[in-house]
């Protein structure tokens, strides 16, 4: 009895139970939807369970590492990530017209995934180092740290990931106190440079944006995804069609229904009520993350926690926005619910950091 208690204590010592329960509930929802989305394919579901277990173990491991240790990893991780990105640009494997993977003999890796964590870490570390004297040049330096990998990823091309990584970096800048005037200036600059962006965009990226504005332009091509997913969501109505009864999903009208478009399956089968509950669940998790962030003791922990929290939110918003037809189709999974191991691991790695921040003795600099 004592033994079990000990083990339990050992296992949960660095776990934030509130956050963990939230994550587990969302994962359960994910499995339920996945079962329906794959047409009751148990092998896909068990695959996903394995993905989740692996990610949970990684989260546990990360949560057990004190933040000082993690902080030390920031610079090496960033350098390795950037090198790998350069490696991809030079030797990467081309897949579907995009150069995103690097074959390192044993396995193929997608360095941009690594950067999702490495960027906030690096920038938070950078600001932590310059904590006392934050001047404009420090923000500029951080921006350069951010833009190097973003541009490399944009070149692959992978607009979705580039934007998400840019966002995660921007959150660090914002939370580090980037002045409002500069933010306003940035917004104006971005708005002004949109035409430039347009001209350097790839055709498929432009098409996605055009299709967002008018999906009916290309109903069988680029607009098909958006049209079918909005039909799925809309036809779900208030109460939904019921689990495994979504015609759009079950009859394969929905594309990529177990990965990026899994929300349409959920929404069709569980309706507005389901959506409300799901948004609420996410909101609770985000709220808990923000509480952790607000209570973080150092500049580094605050910035990394805030960035992870907001990035998590960004994934949710971008995914739901694209599936419901208010954002262009960028390949962003729905956190904790979409099928797939990589994003699951990335997400839980982030939550592991948050838990570590929350559960390790706070270092108050006095």
């Amino acid at each position: 009895m004592i033994e079990i208690k000990k083990i339990w204590h050992y296992l949960t010592r660095y776990m934030d139970s509130f956050l963990l329960i939230g994550i587990l509930i969302l994962m359960a929802v994910g499995l339920i939807v996945l079962y329906s989305a794959t047409g009751a394919n148990m092998s896909r579901v068990s695959n996903q369970i394995i993905n989740m277990l692996v990610a949970l173990v990684i989260m546990w491991l990360v949560a057990n590492i004190p933040l000082q240790q993690i902080m030390r990893l920031a610079l090496p991780m960033y350098i390795v990530g950037l090198s790998l990105l350069i490696g991809v640009a030079l030797f990467g494997e081309i897949n579907n017209g995009a150069r995103r993977w690097l074959n390192i003999g044993v396995t193929r890796i997608q360095p941009s995934e690594l950067m999702k964590i490495a960027i906030p870490l690096m920038m938070a570390w950078y600001f932590d180092k310059h904590e006392i004297t934050l001047r404009l040049k420090d923000y500029l330096g951080a921006t350069i740290l951010l833009m190097l990998p973003v541009l490399l990823i944009l070149r692959q091309p992978d607009l979705g990931t580039a934007l998400l990584i840019a966002a995660s970096g921007f959150y660090v800048l914002f939370l580090a106190g980037l002045s409002w005037r500069i933010i306003a200036g940035l917004v104006i600059t971005v708005a002004a440079s949109l035409p430039v962006f347009w001209s350097i965009m790839h055709d498929y990226q432009r098409r996605r944006i055009m299709t967002l504005l008018d999906p009916s332009q290309d109903p069988l091509g680029a607009g098909y995804h958006t049209i079918q997913s909005t039909i799925a969501i809309g036809s779900g109505g208030v109460v939904g069609k019921g689990w495994q009864n979504g015609t759009q999903a079950q009859l394969d009208f929905l594309p990529e229904q177990s990965t990026d478009f899994i929300f349409a399956v959920f929404s069709e089968e569980f309706g507005l009520i389901g959506n409300t509950i799901l948004l609420f669940l996410y909101l609770i998790v985000i709220a808990r993350c923000m509480v952790i962030t607000a209570n973080a003791s150092t500049q580094f922990t605050r910035l990394i926690a805030g960035s992870i929290t907001l990035t998590f939110f960004t994934y949710i918003f971008v995914n739901m926005g694209m599936v419901s037809g208010i954002l262009p189709i960028v390949g962003v999974p729905l956190p904790l619910i979409s099928y797939g191991g990589t994003s699951m691991v990335t997400m839980l790695l982030g939550f592991g950091i948050l838990m570590s921040i929350q559960t390790h003795p706070k270092l108050i600099k006095t």
């Binding site: 904590e131 006392i132 959150y171 914002f174 939370l175 106190g177 079918q228 909005t230 039909i231 799925a232 969501i233 809309g234 036809s235 779900g236 109505g237 208030v238 015609t247 759009q248 009859l251 394969d252 009208f253 929404s267 309706g271 507005l272 959506n275 409300t276 948004l279 996410y282 909101l283 985000i286 709220a287 923000m290 962030t293 607000a294 500049q299 605050r302 805030g306 929290t309 907001l310 939110f313 918003f317 739901m320 926005g321 419901s324 037809g325 208010i326 600099k365 006095t366």
Partner: protein, 637 residues
Amino acid sequence: MKRHVELRNHPVELHKFRFRLAISACFVLVLFLILYVRFYYLQVSQQEHYHTLAEANRISISPLVPNRGLIYDRNGRALAQNYSAYTLEVIPSKIRKLESTLDELAAIIEITATDRQRFKKLLKESKRFNSLPIRSRLTDVEIATFAANRYRFPGIEIKARVLRQYPEKEVVSHIIGYISRINDQDLEQLERNEELNNYRGSQHIGKIGIEQSYEKQLHGITGFEEVETDAAGRSIRVLSRTPSIPGNNLILSIDLGLQEAAENAFGDRRGALVALDPNNGEVLAFVSKPGYDNNLFIGGIDQENWNLLNNSIDRPLNNRALRGVYPPGSTFKPFMALAALELGKRTPEYSMSDPGYFSLPGVERRYRDWKPGGHGRVDLHKSLVVSCDTYYYSLANDLGIDNIHNFIGQFGLGKKTGIDIEGEVSGLLPSSAWKMSQYKQKWYAGDTISVAIGQGYNLTTPLQLAFATMIIANNGKAYLPRLVKQIQNSETGDVKDIPEKLLYSLNLKPKNLEIVKNALVDVTRPGGTAAKAAINASYTFAGKTGTSQVIGIKQGERYNEKSINERHRDHAMFIAYAPAENPKIALAVLVENTGTGGSTAAPIARQVFDYYLLGKLPEATVAKLDEPVEEHIHDHL
């Protein structure tokens, strides 16, 4: 120093950070609210719209094509039937390189040059997203071969179809007509009649003949199946099903045996024969020679066969019985004779001397009789038996054109009979009013003379002649000629008779009728123009021979059959009914470009009668063509 700054700035920094975090939280809430508004819009405000779209995605309604009704002759012999077969069908819009795909296809499944040509023609006439057959009647081996190679041919599919077949081909082609693929005109017509829904899924429609005129009976009512389909268009399950109702079967009044007998009697000659039952107007035989293989048209005819049929000098596609117009020649005379008696212009006893020609008073021009030197003294009886022209020249002059027009018009000449297939032409029975409206010319007495012997402006169809003959045979009853006798519900087998339809009755004096009919019997007896055809007949029959001119012969010239192009030779005509005392069959025969009615047309009638009345099959050969003696009237120029 460092310590000092930290101590001073830490709470400020933290406060500043928490403010930024609070702004972030607001940002999160606002964006979630936007999402929520979007969900509300989609799932509440627009729910109905998206529900409809989802249902449209999900449910596809596929028509269940009814089986087309069958067509039988009066004895139950099949004239049009259905068979199930697998066809190989191509949807051109789904194929990028049609030609090379067809070449590849031909490598695994036999596709003849004719198939290819037929398909090409079909392609030109159809929309690109229609499913077009390239081969039908696939064998099991071919089906298996294609199934194994199916992945190579997107847009090409094997379909199980119910196909039409006409086992009797040429023999009844002009009666049955054919079905063929529905074209744009058909679609417009169906849309006008609000029948388009009933043709969802139907590929064929009756184009001509019985298949066309009884389309509504034959087609049946299309059923529907609501099928749930997936995004790839595969059916998952049937949600609801309204079965189709097959078309009704038709039982024709045609006697196929009689039809065949008549066909055989014609041999290789062109012409037409219409035989009616004088007691009810049923069409017993309806021959137009040559016929054509109507099976060729069902799947769309290929260019080569089409050219062969369409450009043939024999014009096999022309329905001569229904649409061929010919001067009735001397077959017009019995009606003239009746007119004379009924209108009191001649008595049976009246006789005139025939010098071999007739001239109008004060005019030098001579209208010649076919017999040089004339027939001597001629009364009404003899005028019919020997087919004396001079008698009728003089009679016509006394009657006047409008009397002729009005009286003979009652026998249906120059009018459509109203038979139950479409495309009938009216021909022409001239009148002074007609000439005025047509040519803005007044009628001349000379015009009447050639009308008297069925030439001039006179034009009749073989069907009209048979109709008129029927009215004489049954003493004045004009029954609507009809090909369909009964309609059978193909599901229950219940048979509904189509009752005979008496259009009108002529009030003719029995005595006058008797005089004319007696004369018509004598036409088939020794001394009559059709005597030879009636030799040894075990029944009496009545008839009248005639010759229908193809070209005019100038005044003073004589018609010389041998010197004239075969196609310009006269047509032989014969109208007849039998048995004379109690007619069971009345008919009109036309044989194109063979000269005289007595020698070529009357023997055909004899064989038809023999078959119908005695069950005797016709002999393979008929009377020789170059038999002498008969009327040749070429005088109206």
